[in-house]
Amino acid sequence: MKGARIGLLIVAVMGLLLWPALGQEKVVLHYNLGTEPPTADPALAEDTTSVNIIEQMFMGLTDLAEDDYSPIPELATSWEVNEDATEFIFHLRNDVHWVHCDPATGEVTKLDRLVTAYDVEYGVLRTLDPRSGSYYAAVLLIIEGAAEFNSADPEAENFLELRDAVGVEALDEWTIKFTLRAPAAYFLQIASMWVARPQPQWVIEEHGEQWIEPGNIVTNGPYCMKEWVHEDHMVMVKNPYWPDWDKVDGNIDEIYFTMVQEASTAFAMYLNNELDVGPVPLPEMDRVKADPVLSKELTIRPIPCTYYYGFITTKPPVDDPRVRRALSMAIDRVTLVEEVTKGGQIPANTFAPEMIFGSAAGDTSIAPWALPEEMGGWGYERAVEEARRLMAEAGYPDGEGLELLLMHNVSEGHARIAQAIQAMWLEVFPKASIRIETQEWKVYLTTLKPDTPIENQPHIYRLGWCMDYPDQNNWVHEVFNPEEGSNWVRMSFDDPYVGEAIRRFSELTIQAQMTRDPAERQALYREAERLLVDEIAAIAPIYYYTEVVLTKPWLSRRWHEINHYETWVLDMEAKMAARGG
């Protein structure tokens, strides 16, 4: 008995020793998600972590190109758009299978079902169904009949009629047609989003909201879910039946996702070789940049988000556009990103960053005061001179009599930025009085909502915006259009100073929705941006966000907007050597 056990042990040890020699070693990527994904359900996701894991498991009609975020084929191989951009017909490929992953063995089985247009139709309707309670149903409301269906009472008699009236229809197994209630040249970008992905009706009907748990879930993307131990880790394995493996170079067999929230801990895990990709906590930034090894592993790259200060344009004294422009001019964006935020952020002169379609970022004919001379702008000194002049012209020489309240939500980072900007303003307008107040996040958002009485609102508020889809419609129109957007800056056509410009801004962003010619749309959005940040100066754009990441030398990765792990290449031998030593 004892002998048998020892024998077994010897075999096991030999097996372990031989394992790498057999060349069967799995290539495993260790990646920290930073938090537990609130869901893996394409209909319900609203945050980047959930979207990241959904992207691996479900193919979109379109995908976003790595370099310019333009829509490229994914599940749809081609599409047709009618003249006024209200009808979109997608032709789907017929070689994508639904797969299931066994949680015990990690074995992937190909189901006897192809992904069809009916799955996409079901997915869109399920997202819109009022019983699903989907946040991002909001972006699909452009579809004809979608708003009526989404706001219907599920008990109502005509509920099913309303469902049938929604303008999404599978014409046959491989063709799906969307009819929109208004022209939307940007719908190809929306088609890349998680809310418009195919969903497996038979699985959802069997398991309900639990269908996304390992063992239940059925997927079609390059990776599928083997394990999800909530708040601890998630394991995804390669789906060998995904049809495009021969078109990508990636070699990762398994992804081990951790959910460590604290950046300094994730950084320590990275140093310990427990992670292949790691964050840089702000206090470590200078050290990492100076370190001979870590500085080579560091990547700073722009991401499609903007940090800005908005003005409540009907609240004196910031109802005067001269005051708003002067304040925007007196922000030293270069110093701010170099000395305060330190993450290689880019000074912003427009609302939408570079990679958004229609963006005018860096265009020196728009708010040139925001840019340093080497980017073709005025530079801070000249901007300050003009700011002083404008402020005096508006009746506040040196800021005399200027009383402002700046508000931001509670956060160490926002506080540092606000204090820096307060100091810059007081330097330029020494007689002004500028107070800073903070509120808890949701209380803060409630304060900013346009139905809050204006006396409870600050003059200046801080917010950021990140793209849902890479088109200016998601930026200048949805956020600021006075008629159809959120318009938290409270722009109104009756504005005594710039009412005409505001009306023009509103017309431009609506006209751009109906315009199909890309060059023409670009021109419309350029003018809209100029009005928003320069002539009206409803906001002071501050910087475009960046992502700061460390990558181990054994991993060569690509930089899609959402990670495409199927394109990443990992040298497992080098990784094992580092982890062993």
Partner: protein, 324 residues
């Protein structure tokens, strides 16, 4: 004694009902509802209405409260608003055992260090031993977890490589009876640093309390009598002195127990431990009402139960105390 316990347990009911109601009303009175925004985006009215209906927030507040109490009586804390597809029961079932493991280990460590350290300091009052023990205790109280934790990771994990930097050694799927961890090497390797971080802070306050209380007891007449009888010094201190001086320690131990086993937000966050601690804060940030009420209720039950145990322990620590 039995009668006393039953009476106390019956008192739990109104206390807990009051806590449930107060938590419910307070949670609902924070400005900004759970479904007003997605990130910084304001939601269309139809989307908001659908969510409110789905989670029955469209009903009048008193109806919601009634339904909530009815659910609690059936031990069903409802769905989480934020973690879609998960119930509060799921969340508690998987996070509470992890927090409790870390908490119980830290508490044991805190007692093992704190009581002897406090005793030695008291017996050797105003000597070098006392001063060093007091110094260490003050150090332990004043170094916050958020400094000690990263420091320990830095030294013992990144530089010495003795322990993994973060995470817990088992997950909720591997527990015996849903709460007991397997005593593997991996478990202890992951548990050690967070246990030390959390335990030392508590051990310091226990040590200080033990010392102060023992110093008082030492001067009591019965101690002098015991000494005069010729009993061994060590025996006098431990059997007669320490037992009596533990009453203040036991008093703080009740609430301390409830707090420590429901998870430390900071230590769990620093070490990436999937415990309950973060839900005390995140649930409020997310306005995830069912989770707010679930975690508060668990904490309250432990608190009242802890206090009952403390009261019972008085009878054992001080024979003069009787519950009739």
């Amino acid at each position: 004694m039995i009668k006393y316990i039953i009476r106390r347990i019956l008192w739990f009911i109104p206390v807990l009902l009051a806590i449930i109601t107060a938590t419910f009303l307070l949670a609902h009175s924070i400005p900004g509802g759970p479904f007003d925004f997605a990130g910084e985006k304001q939601l269309p009215e139809s989307v908001r209405q659908n969510l409110m209906r789905k989670y029955r927030l469209d009903k009048p507040v008193y109806v919601q409260l009634g339904l909530w109490i009815w659910d609690v009586l059936r031990f069903d804390f409802g769905p989480s608003y934020y973690s879609r597809g998960q119930t509060v029961n799921d969340i508690l079932r998987r996070t509470f055992p992890i927090s409790a493991q870390l908490g119980v280990l830290s508490l044991i460590l805190a007692l093992l260090i704190g009581i002897p350290m406090g005793t030695i300091a008291a017996v050797k009052q105003n000597t070098l031993v006392d001063y060093s023990a007091t110094f260490i205790a003050i150090l332990g109280v004043s170094i916050p977890n958020m400094v000690l934790g990263p420091l320990l990771i830095w030294v013992f994990s990144v530089h010495l490589g003795w322990f993994p930097a973060a995470r817990w050694g088992v997950d909720y799927t591997q527990l015996y009876l849903g709460i007991f961890p397997p005593m593997t090497h991996k478990f202890w390797a992951h548990a050690f640093l967070p246990m030390v971080t959390l335990g030392t802070a508590y051990s310091a306050s226990i040590a200080r309390l033990t010392r102060a209380s023992l110093l008082q007891v030492i001067r009591e007449d019965y101690m002098r009598t015991a000494m005069a009888k010729g009993l061994h010094g060590f025996r006098v201190i431990v059997v007669h002195g320490l037992r009596n001086s533990l009453i203040p320690v036991a008093t703080v131990l009740g609430p301390m127990f409830a707090g420590i086993v429901t998870g430390s937000l900071i230590v769990e966050r620093i070490f990436g431990i999937p415990g309950m601690g973060r839900y005390f804060v995140d649930s409020i940030t997310n306005r995830d009402y069912p989770v707010i009420m679930g975690v508060t209720l668990v904490y309250s039950v432990l608190l009242v139960a802890g206090n009952l145990l403390v009261d019972l322990s008085y009878a054992w620590l001080d024979p003069r105390i009787r519950y009739d």
